[in-house]
């Protein structure tokens, strides 16, 4: 993390809406994003599982729902997360992509996060701080590719 990315993170954290409780059996994307924005890189286990679900929504369903069910039934009628929450999710993914930029990503999980961040930026033209997030993603991408196992 640099002073610039810390600043982007702080700005995006300030934009996050107050999170309402999700319906029974549902998980609130906003709650996951708010909780993770104050943290660093997720540890393997439940912390990563939450982020994997963000990746899965962005990568597989090509959208971030406001709430999603733990059993992962797709719901095309479900409301989408607010753009501020999508920006928050993108920021969380870029924070978790950090190890890939230094070649400290033995299982590829951080590169996976970067992949989802790139897609989230591409999928959402109205993202708050989109230019800043994209600059961060591009910088991470260049470093991650240069430090990937395939490049060594």
């Amino acid at each position: 993390m640099t002073a610039e990315t810390d600043e982007i993170t702080a700005q995006i954290a300030a934009l996050q809406p107050a999170t309402a409780a999700a319906a029974e059996g549902q998980i609130s994307s906003a709650a996951v994003v708010s909780a993770r924005l104050g943290e660093g890189v997720a540890a393997p286990g439940p912390e990563r599982d939450e982020i994997n679900e963000l990746c899965r929504q962005i990568d597989v369903f090509k959208r971030l729902q406001a709430d999603y069910s733990a059993d992962w039934k797709p719901d095309k009628e479900a409301p989408l997360a607010a753009p501020e929450v999508v920006a928050g999710a993108t920021c969380v993914l870029l924070i978790n992509a950090e190890p890939a930029t230094t070649g400290n990503d033995p299982d590829g999980w951080s590169l996976k996060c970067l992949n989802s961040a790139l897609k989230a930026i591409d999928q959402n033209e109205q993202l708050p701080l989109r230019a800043e997030l994209n600059a961060w993603a591009q910088s991470s991408f260049t470093a991650a590719v240069a430090n990937s196992a395939g490049a060594r």
Partner: protein
């Protein structure tokens, strides 16, 4: 001398099913049957196309599903030469295998009865009925993704899937490219399918030597062509080589193929690559010579 094994090949027309059959023939292995799925143009579970209509649908499917490999072979000879040179480090005679897969191929040439089934897809009840009626106990899946539970739950049926990632570490989609970027080399695994993604018991898994297919800048096609060539030639041949040489050829008791449970607490499930990352991965697979 050919050895018949108690295996049914579930053929979803395309390079993968063909690669399995061609490589089996090279190994002197004959499957007990082939079930060839033919996309039913009526797309109805009630009124299936039959007779000449089915033959016509099979021809149309053959052209459609093999369009990109045929076009790549015709229009990119330098790419084809580079691919066969690159694969020569992984398997024997890739050029000959590719020729057998696409030149004068017929499902009827493998010494096994071929049952042609008109289906709308894997969830079509006609497919489940055909597999059940065949009495197959061991099926080799040649499609991608997951198989419906209704088929996997048929009594006594086990379904083999081959995946171009080293399991349990590399699950999901685009795994050959992810493997190259993350682990610096391709991997391949064979497992018994479950209704979930890539989590079945392992019949075998290995990491392969690093794979690079250098291309002169002037011979380099666009990324879409390179990506299609991956799934037209490279991925099918790697899968076929592994499952036949490491799982089927050594097996003596097919009713008791040794399988070990995966550690589901490790590994990453990858998704399709964003175009930018895919381009970087393709640049690593196809470096400029």
């Amino acid at each position: 001398m050919s050895r018949q094994i108690p295996l049914t090949v579930l053929a979803w027309e395309g390079p993968q099913a063909r690669a399995y059959l061609v490589r089996m023939k090279r190994a002197g292995i004959t499957p007990e049957r082939i079930i060839l799925m033919i996309k039913d143009p009526r797309n109805s579970p009630l009124a299936k196309v039959t007779g000449r209509g089915l033959a016509k649908a099979e021809k149309a499917q053959e052209r459609a599903h093999n369009f990109h490999p045929h076009r790549t072979r015709a229009s990119n000879p330098q790419l084809m030469a580079a691919i066969t040179n690159g694969l020569a480090g992984q398997l024997e005679d890739p050029a000959g295998l590719i020729s057998e897969i696409f030149d004068s191929f017929s499902y009827d040439d493998f010494g096994a009865p071929v049952e042609r089934v008109a289906v709308s897809g894997y969830r079509d009840p006609a497919l489940r009925e055909a597999i059940a009626a065949s009495g197959a106990e061991l099926l080799l899946f040649s499609g991608g993704g997951i198989m419906p539970a209704e088929i996997l739950e048929l009594p006594g049926l086990r379904v083999i899937h081959v995946h171009t990632g080293f399991l349990p570490d590399v699950r999901g989609a685009d795994v050959l490219l992810w493997s190259l970027m993350v682990r610096g080399r391709p991997g391949v695994s064979a497992f018994l399918m479950t209704p979930r993604l890539d989590d079945g018991d392992l019949l075998g898994a290995t990491e392969l030597p690093p794979l690079a297919i250098p291309l002169a800048a002037a011979d380099r096609p666009d990324d879409d062509t390179l990506y299609r060539s991956l799934f037209s030639f490279i991925d099918p041949l790697i899968r076929a080589e592994f499952v036949i040489s490491q799982v089927l050829e050594p097996a003596s008791d097919f009713a008791a193929l040794p399988a070990t449970a995966q550690d589901l607490n490790v590994g990453v499930t990858f998704h399709f690559m964003a175009p930018q990352l895919r381009s970087a991965a393709l640049a690593q697979l196809f470096p400029t010579a």
